[in-house]
Amino acid sequence: MTSLYEEVRGDQPGEVPVRRVSIRVNGVNRTADIEPRLLLAHFIRQGLRLTGTHVGCDTTNCGACTVLLDGKPAKSCTVLAVQADGHDVMTVEGMATASELDPIQEGFKDEHGLQCGFCTPGMMLSAKALLDENPNPTEDEIRWALSGNLCRCTGYQNIVKAVLWAAEKMRAQSGK
């Protein structure tokens, strides 16, 4: 396909460059023929219909589109989908299993770490990368790690509490 958008018409120009990519998203290999200019965020949203990854700004500031690219937070609106070829992407949809939420998801709900929910997926994935690296962060370390994600609703205090909640639960689980 030349476009991941709905109903590609027959009269697409022949000169449109197309590349085949294979990207592992939430553990599943996804292959598609895409234009190089397609942003990873749009590949995920329109191509894979994983709409939990949101697009908030144009300038790589807000972090609503944050995914984990090979385990590290990346703003997917500033990565070309072709750049993710052969790489591993995790979106918010990959955080929970069918039966169990990630402790970070539970923490966000329990500590009222979200309101409109738009920044939440990116915020949670940044938090996940932090806790993967540092299972016992301080409040300052959490604020620092989340400073690439903007939230307009919560004032961040409950987000910090949510991450602390999750960290504690994860430590308790791993201590078992």
Partner: protein, 793 residues
Amino acid sequence: MSLDEIKIGGMGASRRRVEDNRFIRGKGNYVDDVVLPGMLHMEILRSPLAHARIKSIDVSAAWAIPGVRLVLTGEMMAARNLAWMPTLSYDTQAVLATDKVRFQGQEVACVIADDPYIAKDGCEAIVVDYEPLTPIVNPMQALAPGAPLIRDDKENQKDNVVFDWQVGDKAATDKAFASADKVSKLELHYPRSHPSPIETCGSIADFDRSTSKLTVYMTTQAPHIIRAAVALVAELPEHMIRIISPDLGGGFGNKVPVYPGYVMSILASILLEKPVKWIEDKTGNLISTGFGRDVYLKGELALRKDGKILAVRMHTDSDHGAFFSDAQPSKFKIGLMHSAFACYDIPAAHLTARGVYTNKAPGGVAYRCSFRVTEAMFFQERMVQAAADDLGIDQAEFRRVNLVHDDDFPHRTAFGFLTDSGQYAKCLDIGLEAIGYKDFLKQKEEAKKRGRLLGIGISTMTEPLGAGNSRAYDILGIKMFDSAELRVHMTGKAILRTGAKSQGQGHETTWAQIVAHELGIPADDIVVEEGDTDTAPFGMGTYASRSTPVAGAAVAMVSRKIRAKARKIAAHLLEVSEEDVEWELGRFYVRSAPTRGVTIQDCAFAAYTNMPDGLEPGLENVSYYDPPNLTWPFACYIATVEVDPQTGVWDVLKVVAVDDCGVRINPMIVEGQIMGGLTEAYAMASMQFITFDSEGNCVGSNYMDYLLPTAWETPGFELHEVVTPCPHHPIGAKGIGECATVGGPAAFVNAVMDAVKDTGVRNIDMPLLPDRVYEALTTKKDISGFPPVKTDA
């Protein structure tokens, strides 16, 4: 035995939010998540100039791009009588520019294509020839003699004045000023700010020729108003229009107005008979959609030397941009600016307000406030602090002298509002205690000896929420009531729909708690739906903190209607007369034999299976609530700061908030609202502003220049509560969504001003960027009353 209200998720329960279950899984459904078969994509071409005549538009290259399906220009819109649309303030606004562009970012053309990338290519291929005109970027320029006329499209418009309005008692005010011991004056600018929810605006219009039905998914806080507006603008029958506002990624007032992009997507869908999606980019959102504030104040307080305020005089010049498209009650041209000083006992007040057109984006929306209340309370609290300093009276004491006393309610304010309840002094005392006021004053003196600058700022205010009663409040003539419809099913489960629209406030959670409180049906058994005009009862939407005061009251009232009917059914089931039936949460019982009773669920079942003779079957009802008055929450916010004298950088040391929003439905959510509001307050005080250079270029057109604080800069907050129930609200609630945004900024600014007070500086206008603080410290001069643009002279 009565139910435990907290256990069933009733009033006062910090019930975890229902909507979070989808949001934390990434399963929210925002407008951009909606995909319809055959959907096309629209992008808008915007003016690069603030003021220019359009000489020609050449769209041929755009049409030539494969995948482009439609290119719309003002000329084509004009041919369909759609180039202009009415605003929510009885003005007109260009949908697509025809004659000239009047602000940078104005919509000039749009392209509809197979995908948004191609649509953007199409926009880039359009060639517009502009003849630049002199731009006007502030009220001073707009009002200057000989200023170019911005709205030359309007027949009777001879200057750039939108309105000239006044309220209050001029004679009594003049008299009080004549007898004052001291007059304290202050000039302030509340800079232009943008609500800037992370999600931008957007719509998907889907016109179905076969049914003549138009369905529009839209980022709107007020779907029913939009339906009415679309019916009027597009001349479509209202019953054939369905507006669906799905999950909103924040609103804050930005998603109240009707935007050209919505209208264009609708026209495009009608012309193409395909769904057309428009998702605004961030730059488009910041430079063209409803901003907030941009008001200049000249304020004066008449003072007696013991600290008593005798009168207040205010004059505002507000910058409305190129089109007067504020969404606000039609009677009040500068919103509820005259709610200023409502928490103080002041004999006389007079406000004159002038609105002007400039070559800036239209708006003046109620950005997280009840129609200019943010400006009103900021001006109030800055004037109060300056007055206290001018008299040499402690700022806390000065407030205590002037605050309305608990036993003076109901209290008529100097501008004529009626406030009903509150414990103002108690809130102030709790705040002072929590911040450690006396100790801090000592610390401040100690620090001064070592060259450190500490400051403390207080802001106390009551704000008017819940617009409003139908006598005084309407938008375009539509009275500002709200609604709730409750359907209790046979098994005692229920669905509730309201005319409000949550944007993160958690209505799906809290509305169910009100029903649980009124009926004893567990909150988990009640589903809440909003935002679909085909299913929700007519309501005015969510903004201006009106949902709990108005729609929330409707939820209580409709629950009571249901309870009244259930009582008849209960009497029938218990075989006693209705007068012998008593109610306790979730259950009717016989007064003389309390063990004989039926639950609300029993009544629900009977409503469908065993109703008494003469009673209509079913257990459903709807309520339209016209509030008797506004509600008046009170708040006291106190911040302490330290200013770095060498850089002007200031850090927040501590923030204390004491809120009295009446009865709290869900304390967890209330606190979330307060912390979010305080963050916006901090943001406005410190960094969040949109300014323009002398050419009318928007400085702040993206998140690199329009600064929103991150988790790192945002301070922590300590919250306290006082509860004074609202006497006229069915559940005693007053509303909380915006208090902290409204009252918060002055606390931060007052704190910084307190820190620099020894220099003699009385004011630095927001935002208190480090350079402005440093300049004030070194020049010992106010930075007051002018727009925050810096250029090399």
